[in-house]
């Protein structure tokens, strides 16, 4: 069939109300728009789920943590009863590295996980974001609290999600926010108090952890499989390791970061 004949054929079919092929738009109008598919959340089998745990350590010089100067906001000084030190590199006993964000980077593709129903809270207290590093699932509520006597301002600066900025006065009710896309990490700052920083890792699954002063982490209820486990640190870069988790297995993975 020559091209112009095809066109004629299409027109003819359209006019005669034949819906397939040439007049898809008519077909769409004629039927109800497809409803958003109900989320088909992956169900973890507790009989086979395992866990991965380990420690994050630091080797290298330990620069003295710098005190933070809050003198230009007296209410912030008063709230702290002493010196506050910046927390970009926090090393605990036995070289334990705190504030490392550990997460499954690869291996969960194709699975959709329900967002955790309870919110994750970040508090602005003592003119400091607490915690400094946190994780949240896509769709999970990040609850933002201001416990201080001053106005704060929370300003996440994502690359993938929508950037936003909102002031929160003293005594204002908590704000609630949800991130829609996975993104590791999103820096957060306070436009008013330049020393306030936090980092939030957003993942579309619940398999992440933040190390405390002991440098330890545990990620549990993980289906068996092969994964890339990644670690984000604020100043020491990222590392990855591949792990294979057998049914009901418990993998042990340690990381060491080196300072300059």
């Amino acid at each position: 069939m020559k091209p112009h004949l095809k066109i004629v054929a299409c027109l003819t079919l359209t006019v005669s109300a034949a819906m397939s092929g040439c007049s898809k738009s008519s077909t769409r109008h004629a039927t109800m728009p497809p409803a958003a598919p109900a989320p088909n959340y992956f169900k973890v089998d507790p009989a086979t789920a395992g866990s991965v745990s380990g420690s994050i350590r630091y080797q290298g010089p330990r620069p003295a943590r710098k005190p933070v100067d809050m003198s230009n906001e007296p209410a912030c000084v008063d709230a702290n009863h002493g010196k506050v030190y910046e927390d970009s590199l926090v090393v605990g006993p036995h070289n334990a590295l705190a504030n490392a964000f550990v997460y499954i980077e690869k291996g969960l593709e194709g699975k959709t996980f329900a967002p955790a129903p309870s919110p994750v809270t970040i508090d602005q207290k003592g003119c400091w974001f607490r915690p400094h590093v946190l994780g949240v699932q896509t769709g999970q509520t990040l609850q933002i609290v201001n416990s201080d006597p001053v106005t704060h301002n929370i300003h996440p600066m994502p690359q993938v999600n929508r950037e936003w900025n909102h002031s929160q006065g003293s005594g204002d009710p908590p704000m609630n926010h949800r991130f829609t896309k996975a993104e590791v990490m999103i820096p957060i700052k306070c436009n008013i108090h330049g020393w306030m920083h936090a980092y939030v890792g957003v993942l579309d699954h619940p398999y992440f952890a933040v190390t405390g002063d002991d440098g330890k982490f545990t990620i549990s209820n993980l289906p068996p499989g092969t994964y890339t486990l990644a670690v984000w640190t604020q100043t020491l870069g990222d590392q990855q390791q591949t792990i294979t988790l057998a049914p009901r297995g418990s993998a042990r993975v340690d990381f060491t970061f080196h300072g300059k």
Partner: protein, 377 residues
């Protein structure tokens, strides 16, 4: 008989009423047209004051007060307007006067976040100061009234404010034996009409001027010691587009300063966590998406005395206001670009607050009238 019930006289100022009020008005008034003569709507009653126009003296730092041709300011009109301003009979059941929410003791604004209206009803916006309202190109936070005259009676008819009606106002005033004589003195005949009430109160409001502040004496009076060193630093920050950027909207001209551009800006105040506005502000009038969440720039005259702040009175102190701006507003799709240019250190913020305290005028005492006379219907 020449009926003037039409766009020009009785229907002109009804824009501010709710639908229910319009229906109520229609139900009550329209049948009445067939038989009963309505006060204010039945005759060609002039609303133009007939006395000798006076010049309103302007304090240092303010320009000449604009006066509309149809409503020249006379001494008698100011006096009548002042009396009406404090008269609770403008409201339903004589509960509230203009001064109930624009308190002279609070520099003609309201210390409440949202004013209490008829029987405790709440509106949604904070009652702003009336100082220097005479210079604004439009009135109300959303600019819905083009003049003081058009603004005056809006609150009287608003169900969540004074909750009255045109005939209610006129009937109340007619009960007072003093008023017909006063109206005669101002307008030449004793008729009491809504338009006359509007004109008289507008004339009074034109006298509510705030100037000759420490800032004015420094800036326009050559008195270099009128401001403290901290206030002078604050003024520099106020003007600096890369720091406070305040003067981008709160304007200071070469020979006077109104501290408002009379325009509408979205500063992010009032937006929720999801980026939406309960009160869409100027958008209500223009239906332009870019006007969403925009409100008319308020003057900063007497700002230290007129808290709480912002269109919804959400911010209690000047410190909170400056901290809010230091945070560069709340993000939303229509945030004014000027907000994003602000960079304030803590010292800048303190200096700005100190400067704002220099904007309190020394309004002559005779412009702050005696306390409201108790009126019992």
């Amino acid at each position: 008989m020449k009926l003037r019930f039409g766009q020009s006289t009785c229907a002109r100022n009804r824009q501010t009423r709710s639908k229910s009020r319009v229906l109520h008005f229609a139900a009550v008034v329209l049948p009445a047209l067939s038989g009963i003569v309505l006060p204010g709507c039945e005759r060609n009653v002039s609303s133009k004051p007939t006395g000798t126009p006076v010049t309103i003296a302007t304090p240092l730092g303010l320009p000449t007060v604009p006066i509309p041709v149809h409503n020249p300011v006379t001494a008698d009109a100011i006096a009548l307007g002042r009396k009406l301003f404090y008269d609770r009979r403008l409201s339903n059941q004589s509960t509230l006067s203009c001064a109930s929410c624009h308190l002279p003791s609070h520099d003609f604004s309201d210390p409440h976040r949202i004013s209490l209206g008829f029987h405790g009803a709440h509106g949604t916006r904070h009652a702003p100061t009336l100082f220097n309202a005479a210079y604004l190109p439009s009135q109300f936070w959303d600019g819905r009234a083009a003049s003081l005259e058009a603004q005056v009676i809006g609150p009287a008819f608003n169900p969540v404010e004074m909750d009255n009606t045109a005939q209610g106002v006129v009937a109340n005033l007619e009960k007072d034996p003093e008023y017909p004589a006063l109206f005669q003195k101002v307008f030449g005949t004793p008729d009491i009409t809504i338009e006359r009430v509007e004109n008289a109160i507008a004339s009074y409001e034109r006298t509510l001027l705030s100037g000759n502040s420490a800032f004015d004496r420094y800036e326009f009076g050559g008195e270099k010691t009128a401001l403290t060193a901290q206030q002078i630093r604050g003024l520099a920050i106020f003007r600096d587009p890369n720091r406070g950027n305040c003067a981008a909207c709160h304007t200071i001209n070469a020979h006077y300063a109104l501290f408002t551009d009379g325009k509408f800006h979205n500063i992010g105040e009032g937006v929720d966590d999801e980026g939406k506005f309960d009160d869409t502000g100027r958008f209500d009038r223009t239906h332009l998406a870019s006007d969403t969440g925009a409100f008319e720039t308020p003057t900063l005259r007497d700002i230290a005395e007129t808290g709480p702040y912002m269109h919804d009175g959400r911010l209690k102190t000047l410190d909170a206001v400056i901290q809010y701006y230091a945070g560069q507003g709340n993000s939303n799709p229509f945030l004014d670009k000027e907000i994003k240019k602000i960079h304030l250190s803590a010292q800048d913020r303190g200096d700005l607050v100190a400067f704002l305290k220099s904007l309190t005028g020394n309004t002559p005492l005779d412009e702050k009238p005696a306390p409201e006379r108790a009126v019992h219907p």
